[in-house]
C-alpha cells in the first residue's frame, strides 16, 4: 500500500465504475471519523485510473483530503473489470449497478457467454432481451437511474419507464418522486401512463397534482383508460349510497364486475338484528337496487 496525491488520479475515467450513486452518507461519516481504511486499487498509468474505490475517492474529495491510500497494479482492462465485478458482487448491487457491470463488460466486448454468466450471477435470466434492457438502464440519464434506485425498481418497472421519451420520463419522475409507492402501485401507475400514451392520448401531467396519493393518481388515470369500468364503479357507489344499507349489511361486488355473483355479508348479534336485516334486504329488492347491481355484474347495464 502507498499514499498518493489525489491530483495524480484521473477522476473522469470511470471505465470501471459500477457504483451508483457514488454519494454514500454512511461511508462519508465513517471516513470522516476513521479515514480510508481500505486502499483504492489503481491502474499503473499516468494519471492513474481507478479500478476500485470510486466511492472512497468521492468522499475523500468532499472532505478535502489531498491524498488517499492505494495499491497500484498493472493489469489488462478485462482483468481490471473482472476484479471490480468480483469485488462488488458480494454486496447487494442495486439494479443500476448490475446494469453498469454488464454494460462495462459489453463495452469491452467480452464474450457473450461471460456476459450471460455475469447476468446469471446478478439474478437475471441469460437472455438477449434482458441484456438489451440492462444496457438501456446503464445508459439512461442520471435522473432515471436515481428514480429506479430510490424506488428499488425491478426489471418490469425499468422497462416501462424506459418506454417513455426522455421528456415524458422526466415529467413522470417529477410526478412520482415524492410519493411512497409500493412495487405494485409503481407498476400499475407506469402501465396506466403508458396505456394512455399507446392509446394515442396526451399524458395529463397538468391534471395530476404532484402531491396526490398513488391511489388518487391511479383513479384519475383509470377514468381515462377504463371509462366503462369507472362508470360502473361510480354507478355502484351511487346505488349503494341510495340504498343506505345499515352497517350490519355489506354488499361486495367483484372489482371488475366479472363474477356473476355478489356477496352479501350480514352481521347479526340477535334475532332482532336478523329481522331488521331481512327487512333491509327486502327493501333492497323492492326498490330495485339489487337488480341494478346484478345488471352491472352481468354486463347488461345500460346507461
Amino acid at each position: 500500500m502507498e499514499i498518493i496525491e489525489i491530483d495524480r488520479i484521473d477522476r473522469t475515467d470511470t471505465r470501471f465504475c459500477v457504483s451508483f450513486p457514488l454519494e454514500d452518507p454512511l461511508l462519508f461519516k465513517s471516513i470522516n471519523a476513521f479515514g480510508i481504511r481500505v486502499p483504492l486499487l489503481l491502474l499503473d498509468t499516468a494519471p492513474h485510473t481507478v479500478v476500485t474505490g470510486f466511492k472512497r475517492l468521492d468522499v475523500a474529495c468532499r472532505l478535502g483530503l489531498t491524498t488517499v491510500p492505494c495499491s497500484i497494479r498493472s493489469m489488462s482492462e478485462k482483468d481490471a473489470l473482472l476484479t471490480v465485478l468480483n469485488d462488488n458482487i458480494t454486496r447487494p448491487l442495486n439494479m443500476v449497478e448490475g446494469a453498469l457491470g454488464v454494460e462495462k463488460m459489453w463495452g469491452l466486448r467480452l464474450p457473450g457467454e461471460e456476459i450471460y454468466a455475469m447476468m446469471t450471477l446478478l439474478g437475471h435470466e441469460p437472455h438477449e432481451k434482458l441484456l438489451k434492457n440492462l444496457l438501456e438502464i446503464a445508459r439512461a440519464d442520471r435522473q432515471t437511474k436515481e428514480f429506479l434506485v430510490k424506488h428499488r425498481a425491478n426489471m418490469t418497472h425499468a422497462e416501462l419507464l424506459l418506454g417513455f421519451s426522455s421528456t415524458e420520463r422526466s415529467e413522470i419522475i417529477a410526478l412520482l418522486c415524492d410519493m411512497h409507492l409500493t412495487f405494485s402501485q409503481l407498476r400499475e401507475i407506469l402501465q396506466l401512463l403508458l396505456l394512455v400514451k399507446v392509446k394515442g392520448e396526451r399524458i395529463p401531467f397538468e391534471e395530476s397534482p404532484r402531491a396526490t396519493s398513488p391511489d388518487a393518481l391511479k383513479l384519475s388515470l383509470k377514468k381515462r383508460t377504463h371509462p366503462i369500468l369507472s362508470t360502473f364503479e361510480q354507478q355502484l357507489k351511487e346505488i349503494l349510497a341510495k340504498a343506505a344499507l345499515p352497517p350490519k349489511i355489506s354488499v361486495k361486488v367483484d372489482p371488475f364486475f366479472e363474477k356473476e355473483f355478489i356477496d352479501i355479508d350480514i352481521r347479526a348479534r340477535s334475532v332482532d338484528d336478523v329481522e331488521e336485516t331481512i327487512e333491509s334486504l327486502d327493501g333492497l329488492i323492492k326498490n330495485g337496487w339489487l337488480r341494478s347491481i346484478f345488471e352491472l355484474t352481468k354486463g347488461t347495464h345500460r346507461n
Partner: protein, 314 residues
C-alpha cells in the same frame, strides 16, 4: 423470425385435455402436441410470453403419439372426441417441411371414431390434400385484413385462407371457422361486417361444422409487452383481469361484440353452430340465449352437432 427446429425425444403426455381456464367454459377439446412453437409470430400469441423457448420443438414419434390418441378414444368412448394440433403451434405452417400430419390424418380416417382438426393461419393444404378424409376438419382463424396485415404479419392473407377453405369444401370436406382473437379497434365493427360478408359469399355456410368466437385475452406478461411495443390495436379496448388472471375485455363489451357477431353470422345462416371459447355462463346466456354452464354441457352440444353432420358415420 426463422426459429431453429429441435427434434426432441417424444415422451410424457402429448395428447392432453385442453387446459381450459378457471371459471370459464371449455369445449372439451383434446390437444396433440406435435409441434411446440410457431414461425408465424403473431403479435398477440401466447407463446410470446415464454422467454425460454427460442426454438420450435418437434415431437415426431408418431407411433407413440397415435397410441396415446387411441387410448383417449378408448377411455372416452361416450363422446365424439375432437383432437387438434393447433394449440401450441400452427397445424399447417410447417407441414411442408415436417410432414407430420399425413399419418395422423390417415389414422383418423381409418379409425372413424373421432375428429381431427387442423387449425391454422397458413393457407396451404397441398401436402395433405390427397389424404384428407371426412374425419379431418380444416379450420382457419379469420380476422379482418387490417388485423392480418398488422398483427399476423407472417400469416396467409384472408383471401388465400378463404380460397383454401373453399377448396376443402369443394372436395367434400368439412371446415371450421375461428374468430379468435376478436380484437376491438376503431372501426372493427365495419371490418367484421365485411369479413362475414366475404365469408358467406365464398363459403357454403351450411357445411361449416363449427364456428368459434373468442375475444382477445392474454397473460399479464403480454400486457407489458403490448404496452412496450405500442400495440394500439391490441390495447384499444378496455381490459380487466379475469378470474383466471388473464386480461379480458370488460364483460359489457364482450357481450356487445359477441352479440353483434353472433347476429351477423346467424343472419347469414341460421343453422350455424357457434360456440364461445373460454367464456362465462352468463355471457353464453346473454349472447346465445342458451344455458351452457359447464364444459360437459358444451361437449354435449358438440356431440349433437357432429352427429347431425355425420349421421351414423361416427
Amino acid at each position: 423470425m426463422n426459429l431453429p427446429r429441435v427434434h426432441t425425444e417424444t415422451k410424457g403426455d402429448l395428447v392432453r385435455n385442453c387446459p381450459g381456464t378457471r371459471n370459464h367454459i371449455c369445449c372439451g377439446y383434446k390437444t396433440i402436441d406435435l409441434v411446440e412453437g410457431c414461425s408465424l409470430s403473431c403479435s398477440y400469441c401466447i407463446l410470446r410470453g415464454y422467454l425460454n423457448a427460442p426454438h420450435i420443438k418437434i415431437h415426431d414419434d408418431l407411433t407413440y403419439i397415435l397410441a396415446q390418441v387411441e387410448e383417449k378414444m378408448d377411455i372416452e368412448s361416450e363422446h365424439i372426441l375432437r383432437f387438434g394440433t393447433g394449440e401450441l403451434g400452427d397445424s399447417l405452417a410447417l407441414e411442408r417441411e415436417l410432414k407430420l400430419h399425413r399419418p395422423l390424418i390417415e389414422f383418423f380416417g381409418r379409425k372413424k371414431r373421432a375428429l381431427l382438426e387442423l387449425k391454422s393461419k397458413w393457407a396451404s393444404i397441398r401436402t395433405v390434400q390427397d389424404v384428407l378424409n371426412p374425419y379431418t376438419v380444416v379450420s382457419f382463424s379469420l380476422a379482418p385484413p387490417r388485423i392480418i396485415a398488422q398483427e399476423e404479419k407472417r400469416t396467409s392473407p384472408l383471401h388465400r385462407r378463404l380460397n383454401v377453405l373453399k377448396q376443402v369444401q369443394d372436395r367434400g370436406g368439412f371446415i371450421g371457422l375461428h374468430f379468435d382473437p376478436i380484437i376491438i379497434y376503431p372501426g372493427f365493427e365495419k371490418d367484421y361486417f365485411y369479413l362475414i360478408q366475404d365469408i358467406s359469399r365464398i363459403l357454403d355456410l351450411k357445411r361449416v361444422i363449427w364456428v368459434s368466437m373468442g375475444l382477445l385475452r392474454f397473460m399479464p406478461k403480454l400486457y407489458t409487452l403490448f404496452l412496450l411495443e405500442g400495440r394500439r390495436n391490441l390495447l384499444h379496448g378496455e381490459f380487466i383481469r379475469g378470474e383466471d388472471g388473464k386480461y379480458r375485455y370488460v364483460k359489457a363489451e364482450r357481450i356487445r361484440v359477441y352479440k353483434m357477431l353472433y347476429e351477423l353470422l346467424k343472419n347469414k345462416e341460421e343453422s350455424l353452430f357457434i360456440y364461445l371459447c373460454m367464456e362465462r355462463p352468463d355471457i353464453w346466456k346473454e349472447v346465445t340465449g342458451m344455458d351452457v354452464a359447464t364444459t360437459e354441457g358444451l361437449t354435449a352440444l358438440f356431440d349433437k352437432r357432429v352427429k347431425n353432420f355425420y349421421g351414423g358415420g361416427l
